[in-house]
């Protein structure tokens, strides 16, 4: 399982380095989301600072849907699906490999969005750095859910419209925990309790994904 996970993770990251979808599409979308939410809140600095944690996590959530869709699309072409199924890779290993590759990309995205938060929303950078454990656990949860749901809709004609409808309610707990944790950190508290909640979510989604990815991808 771990060997196949490493193989699939390496393959996904290599494909991303070649295609640069994260750099040219997902990250710009995330920054665009930050800007649009800021415009919607209005010019008041207090409103922006108060809304910053929620906006960060909302932008991350929406951008992660794009990234998950891309991760699933890599495997979705007919020839690729057939060939990969014939390779006999361990399903749990494939799931973990894709989750790891997606989590790495989401971590990069989170770092850039937090920079955006510093610049656009005038939050305290030193305090924001303390929210790092939140980000680390959250991206694992986001990646696990995104990979699983991406596999659910892969191959359908309506994947682009169906994936957000399915995945966003499932990610709402991550949004809530991430926002509360970041707000707590920016207000002078610690990330402790919310980091634990996100860690539990990450472990739970990984466990569920390891069990369900196989039957989803390959019913035989």
């Amino acid at each position: 399982m771990w060997r196949d996970a490493a193989l699939v993770c390496g393959k996904d990251l290599r494909i991303e380095l070649r295609s640069r979808v994260l750099v040219w599409q997902v990250v710009p979308f995330g920054i665009l989301a930050l800007i649009l939410f800021a415009l919607a809140l209005g010019p008041s600095l207090d409103a922006l600072r108060h809304g910053a944690p929620g906006i960060l996590w909302l932008a991350l959530l929406l951008a992660s849907v794009l990234a998950s869709s891309r991760s699933a699309a890599i495997e979705a072409t007919e020839g690729t699906r057939a060939t990969v199924r014939l390779l006999g890779l361990d399903a749990a290993g494939v799931f973990l490999g894709k989750v790891l590759a997606l989590a790495v990309q989401l971590l990069v995205l989170t770092g850039i969005l937090e920079l955006g938060l510093l610049v656009l929303f005038h939050v305290d950078g030193g305090r924001l750095a303390l929210a790092t454990p939140l980000s680390c656990f959250a991206v694992v949860a986001l990646a696990a859910v995104g990979t699983l749901y991406g596999a659910l809709v892969a191959g359908t004609d309506v994947a682009t419209t169906l994936l957000p409808l399915l995945v966003l309610p499932a990610l709402a707990p991550v949004l809530i925990a991430g926002e509360r944790g970041t707000a707590s950190v920016l207000a002078g508290g610690g990330p402790g309790r919310w980091a634990i909640v996100l860690a539990v979510m990450a472990v739970a989604y990984l466990a569920v994904g390891v069990v369900l990815y196989g039957p989803l991808e390959d019913p035989s």
Partner: protein, 238 residues
């Protein structure tokens, strides 16, 4: 289910609902503090119980049975789909009756209390299941996807259940708690218990009918497949 039970289920369910409505609206007294809005007590908890535990619990069980190779059969997929459809209806009614109670009691139609929020998310998760159900696919692929989706969605059920204990929000605790301590008494208690029985029967009747429709559709599809096979083989002869 025997034919006699099947035929009796509808009238029994209807009778119990009528009895509940009569007791709830005319026989039981208004509450000391809440007045007449307490009568929603004879709807809301029962609707929630049916949706959360009966409907989505059955959906999870059926979905697991479908995904497990040894027990895989289309009847589990049809049962899961039927219970989810009915469950979404009951959950919508739960939210609606909750809002009707919340407006006079809390002064707002909606609040971002943990119980309400997690319930709304559960509704959206199962609406997603229904959306997936309508995506064109061969029956086994659709069944597989929906089974996984149902199991994922049911992860929210324990969160809904424990939300009041974990986060002390506005929503009150259980009227009948886990230790079977009752927080209402007399005719209100009996009517409450009757409402659980009534809506359980309504649920069973609705799921039974929906399952029968789904099973008949499958029979029709099988018949159409046989006709398609004959036509297809004839292509080879021409």
């Amino acid at each position: 289910m025997s034919r006699a039970v099947d035929r009796a289920l509808g009238p029994v369910a209807l009778g119990l609902v009528v009895l509940t409505v009569w007791l709830g609206l005319w026989v039981t007294p208004p509450d000391e503090l809440q007045g007449n809005i307490v009568r929603l007590l004879y709807l809301h908890p029962a609707l929630a119980w049916v949706a959360l535990y009966l409907a989505f619990g059955l959906a999870a069980l059926s979905s697991a049975l479908y995904l497990w190779p040894r027990t895989r059969a289309s009847r589990w997929d049809l049962l899961a789909a039927s219970t989810v459809e009915v469950g979404v209806v009951f959950l919508s009614l739960t939210l609606a009756t909750g809002m009707l109670w919340g407006r006079p009691a809390w002064g707002v139609w909606w609040t971002w209390d943990a119980r309400l929020t997690s319930t709304a998310l559960l509704e959206l998760l199962f609406i997603g299941y229904l959306a997936m159900r309508r995506v064109p696919a061969d029956p086994h692929t659709r069944a597989r996807r929906c089974a996984v989706l149902a199991l994922l969605a049911c992860l929210d059920v324990p969160i809904v259940h424990f939300s009041v204990q974990w986060w002390n929000g506005l929503h009150q605790g259980a009227t009948i708690d886990a230790g079977f301590q009752f927080h209402v008494h007399g005719s209100m208690l009996w009517t409450l218990l009757l409402s659980f029985l009534a809506f359980t029967c309504v649920f069973a009747w609705m799921v039974r009918r929906r399952y029968q429709i789904a099973a008949r559709s499958e029979e029709v599809e099988d018949t159409e497949l046989q006709a398609a096979l004959v036509e297809r083989r004839a292509e080879g002869v021409r």
